[in-house]
């Protein structure tokens, strides 16, 4: 079971409920915008406190209101690629990538990640100077280099033109197939969801 999540959480004006129980490698969460998909990811990452419920990923309990378990974000090992990327503007691409870097045996090295994502040539640049597609790949690289237990991708293809979007799409497919990380993907675009997801959860 990769994902065992059942949460009641505050989103916007009211409270929402969501349950995800799946053994699929990549689960897509979809629904109209404003419905609380990002809030859900924030709850799973530990950035937002749910009202009640539990979060178990890959067998590990990150949150359980009944048992009083609530791991802080830095202990949850979530690889979170934000919709607004959130690259650190005062640090180079290289420093951004290194921020959460873990040298875990068996996980990809820095060189491999740069190769995988095609961003080696950007090392000394500052985020403000990157294009949308480049920045996105740096954000994904930063998350991957922290040797996460699972991935959270929030609308990874927005504001990308078709060729870039296709590149990222293929990247995500490779991550899904080659790295074997449980991945939760939030997207409102049906096409992406179709292509990538082993299972789809609809929020309404």
């Amino acid at each position: 079971m990769s994902f065992d999540v059942a949460l009641t959480y505050r989103a916007g004006q009211g409270a929402r409920e969501c349950a995800i129980r799946s053994a699929a490698r990549l689960v897509a969460v979809t629904g109209p915008s404003g419905i609380g998909k990002t809030s859900l990811l924030n709850c799973i990452a530990g950035l937002h406190r749910p009202l009640s419920g539990h979060v178990r990923i890959g067998g590990e309990t990150l949150f359980d209101s009944a048992a009083g378990i609530d791991l802080p974000p830095e202990r949850r090992r979530a690889g979170y690629v934000f919709q607004d990327l959130r690259l650190f503007p005062h640090r180079t691409v290289s420093a951004n990538l290194a921020y959460g870097e873990q040298a875990e045996p068996g996980w990809m090295t820095r060189a491999e990640a740069l190769e995988f994502l095609g961003i080696a040539h950007l090392a000394r640049r500052f985020p403000a100077t990157l294009s949308g597609g480049e920045a996105k790949r740096v954000a994904i690289g930063r998350a991957l280099l922290a040797a996460p237990r699972f991935l959270l991708l929030d609308e990874p293809l927005t504001s990308l033109d078709a060729p870039r979007a296709e590149e990222i799409l293929r990247l995500i497919e490779r991550i899904r197939d080659e790295l074997g990380l449980p991945t939760l993907l939030v997207s409102h675009a049906a096409a992406e969801v179709e292509r990538l997801a082993g299972e789809v959860v609809m929020l309404d």
Partner: protein, 233 residues
Amino acid sequence: MTAWPTAAEWGIVALSLKVSVLAVALTVPVSYALAWLLARRRFPGRILLDAAVHLPLVLPPVVTGWVLLLLFGRTGPLGHWLEEATGLVLVFRWTGAALAAAVMALPLMVRAMRLSIEAVDRRLVGAARTLGATPWRAFLTITLPLSLPGVLAGTVLGFARSLGEFGATITFASNIPGQTRTLPLAIYTGLQVPGEEAAVTRLAIISVVLSVAALLASEWLVRQSHGRRAHVL
């Protein structure tokens, strides 16, 4: 009238700078801590803290000096304790002048630093946390560096304010040549005695030059901060 300041006058400038450097050095960490509390934390009494921090800005400086005297005078609760515990006496000493200057500069510094901290995108701190940073590490590597230009601007402004501090200094630390007779006090003393016009003019010019330099530096630092503000969406 000789245009160039005498050795004694340079001594006064040196004392002023010494007092202001100590005042600011003490106040920077305190100001930052207060600024951070007010910018990032909700707690009961927050409004009162905010008001208390701003008091020296709006109270007549003489009143602030008088309150300092009540607290830190040799017979005051804090002053007495300080003397018993460390032998340190603040009244009549340049350290007392520094305390008066620090208290007067505090509100300006807190305001500038608070604006700067509020401008740091909290979402970046969240991102750092998911990458494994403890709250302290996230503060040191994200909030602090990004708020730095505002901190520097506030520090320079506080320094300028300290240089000009008069009312609280003369009321609390008195007007002792060589210890607490800073630039503004020396100008005031010179004005009391007919015949000191030349010295007063020289000191006043120095005062203006220092203030203008500090304001320009502060402005420049604020401009610098606008370079690194935006982050990629």
